[in-house]
């Protein structure tokens, strides 16, 4: 009852307002109750669907030349007819001859209303929503690369087998994926994708290659297969790290690589990390000095790996024993290699340092850390002197917790 009243209260008002608004243009002689206003003509029904869609999705000519309207975020025309059939609409009716036969046996079928399907409209909207905009498929955290859904760092599987050579135990990882341009005489600026990837069997065999192609997928495939054809064998120490520390450089990129004990992990640039992973190196520290150009890092690192010497070769070259001392073994000297000839050395001979020898007399630049601005301030000094007596508190607490003496 109340609803009816409300409606009746609104209706006259609305009519009055329209009549007032339109009063200047249309003949006001007509009584307001008979006037049903509607604008049946708009660009929606004047233009064909293609033209309307072009208005939404098109890119200007200048933009097209620059490569706009491609890639992610591209608007696509939706097929609005999808999910709809002729004869089935908002009001589900039986239309003889359209969606039902005219005669059923001897009986004539009449136009008839049926119960409304409430989900129909919702379903159509859902279908349209899923159609147009491109959705990113969610990546499994294990499959992710260095950053987001970007290719660098991601695995693209083993190279395709060539004839009988199959790369079963190999894994390929993308190191670089970028767009490069070249100028062509007739086509002008031509864009291609350049992919640098590294493949390896996690057991000392690895290769890397760069490949370019107009499509990302082809570039990935090309670089992967090319890397499989350029394998390099590298001797690993205890199947987990490099033979010895080394210095290596390519262009302006200088890398100092250090052999590390078991359990250290890979502490280095992410590209070196990825290479080590496909090679089977588990413990290593590398410091890059100079340029961090990715292709140069990869090339320098591979050159360094290839230039490593075996302990026997070093002992032969220097005529000295190579001894390894482990802290965990209380400094027990273990002979790793001995020279073939026993050359008598006098006390005066200077024995070179092993690390100095392997790094080729290079030294890592150790930059001084700049202390924070507050270090010598009065407040900080007070804080430090107040805090001094609590310096061992954490350990004591921990011990108490462990031994539960409380």
């Amino acid at each position: 009852m109340s609803r009816l009243l409300f409606m009746s209260f609104i209706k006259p008002n609305w009519r009055a307002s329209t009549s007032i608004k339109l009063g200047n243009h249309i003949n006001t002689l007509f009584p307001p109750s008979d006037c049903t206003l509607s604008r049946n003509i708009s660009f929606f029904n004047k233009l064909p669907a293609d033209d309307i869609w072009r208005g939404v999705t098109a890119v200007s000519n200048a933009g097209k030349k620059r490569g706009r309207g491609k890639g992610t975020g591209r608007k696509v025309a939706k097929d609005l007819n999808k999910g709809q059939t002729i004869g089935l609409g908002k009001k589900s009716c039986i239309w003889p001859g359209l969606n039902a036969p005219i005669l059923r046996g001897n009986e004539l079928i009449y136009q008839q209303k049926q119960s409304e399907n409430e989900d129909r409209e919702k379903n159509i909207i859902q279908l349209r929503d899923s159609m147009g905009n491109f959705k990113l498929s969610k990546l499994n955290p294990i499959d992710r690369g260095w950053s987001g859904t970007k290719m660098p760092g991601r695995s693209i599987g083993p190279p395709d087998s060539v004839g009988e050579d199959s790369f079963k135990l190999f894994d390929t990882r993308v190191l670089e994926n970028k767009i490069v341009f070249i100028m062509k005489g007739n086509m002008g600026r031509k864009r291609r994708y350049s992919v640098l990837s590294v493949t390896g069997n996690k057991n000392g065999l690895a290769g890397f290659a760069i490949a370019k192609a107009p499509e990302v997928r082809t570039a990935l495939r090309k670089s992967k297969n090319r890397a499989g054809q350029k394998l390099i064998s590298i001797n690993l120490y205890e199947n987990r790290t490099i033979n010895h520390d080394f210095y290596t450089a390519f262009g302006k990129t200088k890398i100092f690589v250090f052999k590390k004990p078991e359990g250290y992990g890979l502490v280095c640039h992410r590209a070196i990390q990825t290479i080590c992973k496909v090679l089977g190196i588990q413990d290593l520290y590398a410091k890059i000095e100079g340029s961090t150009n990715l292709q140069h890092i990869v090339k320098a690192f591979f050159i360094g790996l290839m230039r490593q010497k075996s302990y026997d070769a070093i002992a032969k070259e220097t005529n000295l024993h190579i001894v390894e001392r482990q802290v965990a073994k209380n400094g027990f000297p273990q002979i790793k290699a001995s020279p073939l000839l026993n050359v008598n050395t006098s006390e005066k001979d200077r024995i070179i340092d092993f690390m100095q020898f392997t790094l080729g007399n290079k030294i890592v630049l150790k930059k001084k850390k700049i202390p924070p601005y507050f270090v010598n301030s009065k407040g900080h000094n007070i804080f430090e002197s107040k805090n001094e007596r609590f310096r061992n508190q954490q350990n004591v607490r921990l011990h108490k917790l462990v031994n539960s003496y409380i």
Binding site: K260, V327, N330, D349, N403
Partner: protein, 396 residues
């Protein structure tokens, strides 16, 4: 069914009774042992005696891979170095010295009794405070044992601090690394210690004991006796070989006349000269009128000391294959030299003599072990001689 069930019930009761009896017996045994496992007189003069030390060191052996085995440390880095042959030889000597230091035995001494020593009684100072006052001389360079620590009681008496207070004050001002101010839980809770022992972590327990307690403390004696008793039951003596605790352990068994299990283990592992040393030690401690000295000197002439042997092992990797390579190869293949065979013969005689005497308790077991060893040795000797003949190596 009913009969079966009754039978089972009966069995269960029997087993229960048996179990109770067994535990009672074992408890009684343990109590007896604990009562007897004290040094009735001061063992220190016998233990620190040069000959005893030599015997114990020889029994301990020096297996380099065990002394320098990989331990769990925060820093597991390695250092690679270039070395000349001369440097390496020097390094090996230092390594042996280091190993000797690592194998230094904790001394076996009498339990120190606490004695009250009053300096002065000042009744005038009575009730000067509610608590005792401890005065510690923290002069730099003093030994912990000679540091003066005195206590002023609330009733005014000034006295030298008891041992417990001394230890606590010393730990407070000059903390020993690894020693805790509070007793570690494994020494306060019997079940925790028992768990360690059941897992055969003898070395760990003994190491911790050595850090936490002084050798003259009663706890040190009690716990080490417990460990050695458990070890004698489990017979895992090899766990302590080449550690600093093997000597005190052998001394303990020799003192308490229960060397037979250790002896059996030594014979089984073909450490015959060690067996002779153990028997000699036992004779020495209990002043048995058997002349063991000539045999020991004979063996000494034939067998190198553990340190010499370890050094030879280290130096062997420096040597190039020489002309008598085949003989060396035969020796390494069989694991024994001619001298070893000679030493074995002397030792076996002495051991058999011991087994035949009234001192041996597990005669049958020991005899069997000796017999099998003899057979194996004979086979080895034949093989050794045959190989030598086949390769045309002159008998030296």
């Amino acid at each position: 069914m009913l009969i079966l069930r009754q039978l089972r019930k009966l069995n269960g009761q029997q087993r229960l009774q048996l179990g109770v009896e067994q535990t009672r017996r074992s408890m009684a045994d343990a109590a007896q042992k604990n009562a007897s496992f004290q040094y009735d007189k001061d063992p220190q003069p016998l233990f620190t005696d040069a000959e005893t030390q030599r015997l114990l060191q020889s029994m301990t052996q020096l297996q380099l891979e065990k002394v320098f085995r990989k331990r769990t440390v925060p820093d597991n880095s390695t250092e690679t170095k270039f070395m000349t042959t001369a440097q390496l030889e020097k390094e090996f000597l230092q390594t042996i010295e280091k190993a000797k230091k690592l194998l230094q035995m904790p001394p076996v001494v009498q339990i120190k009794q606490d004695t009250e020593h009053i300096i002065s009684k000042d009744p005038a100072l009575k009730d000067f405070a509610d608590t005792k006052y401890v005065f510690t001389d923290i002069t730099f360079g003093l030994r912990n044992s000679e540091r003066k620590i005195v206590v002023r009681d609330a009733d005014g008496t000034l006295a030298y601090a008891p041992l417990e207070t001394r230890k606590r004050m010393n730990q407070l001002y000059f903390p020993l690394e690894g020693r805790r101010s509070y007793t570690p839980r494994m020494f306060t809770h019997d079940d925790l210690l028992q768990r360690c022992l059941d897992e055969h972590k003898y070395e760990f327990v003994l190491d911790r004991l050595t850090v936490q307690y002084e050798p003259y403390e009663a706890e040190f004696h009690n716990f080490s006796a417990k460990v050695f008793a458990h070890l004698n039951e489990s017979k895992e003596f090899d766990l302590l070989r080449s550690t600093r605790h093997f000597g005190p352990m052998a001394f303990f068994y020799a003192w308490h006349r229960c060397i037979d299990d250790l002896l059996y283990d030594m014979i089984r592992r073909d450490y015959l000269h060690n067996a002779v040393e153990l028997i000699s030690l036992s004779y020495k401690i209990h002043q048995v009128p058997v002349d063991y000295k000539p045999i020991l000197s004979q063996l000494e002439a034939l067998k190198p000391t553990p340190a010499q042997r370890a050094l030879a092992e280290l130096l062997s990797c420096l040597k190039k294959p020489a002309e008598n390579a085949i003989e060396h190869e035969i020796q390494t293949a069989i694991g024994k030299t001619e001298q070893d065979f000679a030493a074995d013969e002397i030792s076996l005689k002495f051991i058999e003599q011991y087994i035949g005497s009234k001192h041996a308790l597990k005669k049958v077991q020991l005899e069997l072990a000796v017999q099998t060893l003899k057979e194996v040795n004979l086979e080895k000797l034949q093989l050794y001689q045959g190989l030598k003949k086949a390769h045309g190596v002159q008998a030296s």
